[in-house]
Symmetry: C2
Subunit: 439 residues, 2 copies
Amino acid sequence: MGEILVSKFGGSSLADADQIRKVLEIVKSDPRRRFVVVSAPGKSERYSTKITDELIALKQNQSNQNAQAAHARVIRSRFADITRDLGSTFTLGDDLHFLGRPAECSEDMIKSRGEYLMGKLFAAVSGFTFVDPATFIKFDWNGNLDMSACKEARDRLLDLKEGCVIPGFYGAMPNGDIKTFSRGGSDLTGSIVAAIVGANLYENWTDVSGFYTADPRLVSNAKSIISMTYEEAGELAYQGASVLHPEATLPVEEACIAIQVRNTNRPDDVGTLIVPEDRLGDRDDCPVVGIAARQDFMAIRVKKALMNAEVGFIHRVTGVLARHKINIEHMPGGMRTIDCVVERGQVNGKAGQIIGEIGRDCGPVEVIIQPDLALICVVGQRMMNKPGLLARVSGAVAAAGVSVRMVDQGLEENDIVLGVKTEDCVKAMRAIHDEFFGP
Amino acid sequence: MGEILVSKFGGSSLADADQIRKVLEIVKSDPRRRFVVVSAPGKSERYSTKITDELIALKQNQSNQNAQAAHARVIRSRFADITRDLGSTFTLGDDLHFLGRPAECSEDMIKSRGEYLMGKLFAAVSGFTFVDPATFIKFDWNGNLDMSACKEARDRLLDLKEGCVIPGFYGAMPNGDIKTFSRGGSDLTGSIVAAIVGANLYENWTDVSGFYTADPRLVSNAKSIISMTYEEAGELAYQGASVLHPEATLPVEEACIAIQVRNTNRPDDVGTLIVPEDRLGDRDDCPVVGIAARQDFMAIRVKKALMNAEVGFIHRVTGVLARHKINIEHMPGGMRTIDCVVERGQVNGKAGQIIGEIGRDCGPVEVIIQPDLALICVVGQRMMNKPGLLARVSGAVAAAGVSVRMVDQGLEENDIVLGVKTEDCVKAMRAIHDEFFGP
């Protein structure tokens, strides 16, 4: 049996007929591209909305006949446009019936239809076989991906004679109900398919030429990253590099399958190769792989004299946040203070209640909200025992006149996270980038 | 009514007759010294053990007649020696009966007798009135200091015509049972007495001339600190400066009473004045107040892919440690790892059980013990918005060739904590000290 590539194409690669022609050319240019995973059509010069956003709006407006009809029209005409522009006579037919009755379908079902319809359309214009991921990407009753159940599809997928196209973003619960991943989850579908079929490579085609040393929209001299490890890629993705879904590295990592992030619009660019550490080969001796940033964080600061000496104090604070389903990203603290650094969106509107509950559960404390925090993450090549990395990072930020409001570096961790004011974020990123990658 | 000083003397200031003569001279030289708080006799050139350690050993050996008798002899002869050397005919009499029946007394009762007996002896040789703190330093049923109950003694203490001497280190539960503070708690007794009587100053007499910019035994060019805030002193004390009990600042802080740390052996030295921030006056512009360090920490490292995205994960980890009554000092973490930095002594022998319980409560995780960590704390003058402090600290450590294994700086926190290997601790402290205080 020959080599197999699993090729996932993102929403902007499938946004209109011109883009889809590029995808068809890429897919047809190499017979090893037997498994194609498609996202829902995204934005392009011609279309200002993403199909998935239209679908979510359709569901949200299910009791508003006019709004619902408007969103249905946008979705219907988008697919009709694309099919016509591709010179195809294919029609989606019954597959569009849900547009008229969103109230009868679950939210996940509706959200998943962008990928589903794109898969049907792509199958029609490519001649590939359509395979519905609801038939093999399985979740357990807790909503966790059940990888061993997924792997039962291995023979069925490998037995397909022609190439096949698989919609991304969703799978099914044990009872068959559709369940979607979080946004960007088609990256995860591709990774799962690659792991199931034991692909030689997982190609992730998007609209940028791979990962960069920093977001090139903010740091103009950012360079593309030729190769890095799964852990580094996952960390950069999690910390704000929007190239890949942060969980997408996990299924292929377990199977030791490399990921190549490539640009549909510039297929000759080398992109970024993500590999196990022992296949990295030589890299330059720059201790930093890349820098990412996330905004819209806040700190819930809890002050109490000698809290550190109080067994279980931190546990009581974390209990309040867990009850409100808030993730704690970082928890720097001293003798009188801990700061729970969390996403602002998760606290949204509940700050008063949370302050009250911390006061109730943790005794006489002072709770202060620090509303503005941006997190900059410097992801390094195995930073352990590299004296001076923290000094270079903090020195660069200081020279730029930026105050470090928080810093978190764990033992042998691969990253240093700095908290700064939002207004200082880009300035600090540029300073750190210049320090490690030259001005 | 005139000014009042509360003067607490530490164990080395009361270790033998020569030391006690110095104390008597200090006390008698200023009639404002109306409240004297005494520790138990500590070590001196002549005596190699602390009375409190002898008392603890007495209790521990209560079922070993010979060992018990040996410790009782040491205690009895120590007080007899001191009384005789002071030329006094005073005898402790019935107050020593407990030495023959330690099994009948609670551990806290026995531990508290060093201060109690020292108080009796000091009253005899000074002519001061003996006041037992069990009559006014009150704990609630949870074992927490009940400051409002303590304050009921205000008039009684102020009505005393002569000076009085109060044993440190203990108070009483609501039923009258003796309860001790943690070791070094006589500092706290002095602070409580100062707060009760509304003293003009709380003098804390010890065997060093106040706080230093670093431990002068490790950093030879350390300088004494002339003045600082309660918070800075509490932080330095907590982080390893053994000058003062870390909680000793709290009662006087609430009452805005200054603490002066002075040296019984060098009463002309100015010592360190600890005051509310608005009474600090001008200080030099060095951003750092002092550096302290603690050894014998370890990290319990928990690894799990994407743990950050799992609501309540940190809460489950902290729950295991709270059950084992382990304080978490720091908790740096990233996307795949959190490190719970804890005192090694608290984990002692329970590491295997803790690893098992984390695995049970937190799902499939990897738990690794990092056994060796020393924590260096750089305590600053209101560090907020001081760009470059972290850079200077980490730059100095890097230049000394030391790897920073962990760093924790909270929002607007007064301190930066670095974790280093124990073998690097002194080298790093010296490097940081040279950076801020000159070589």
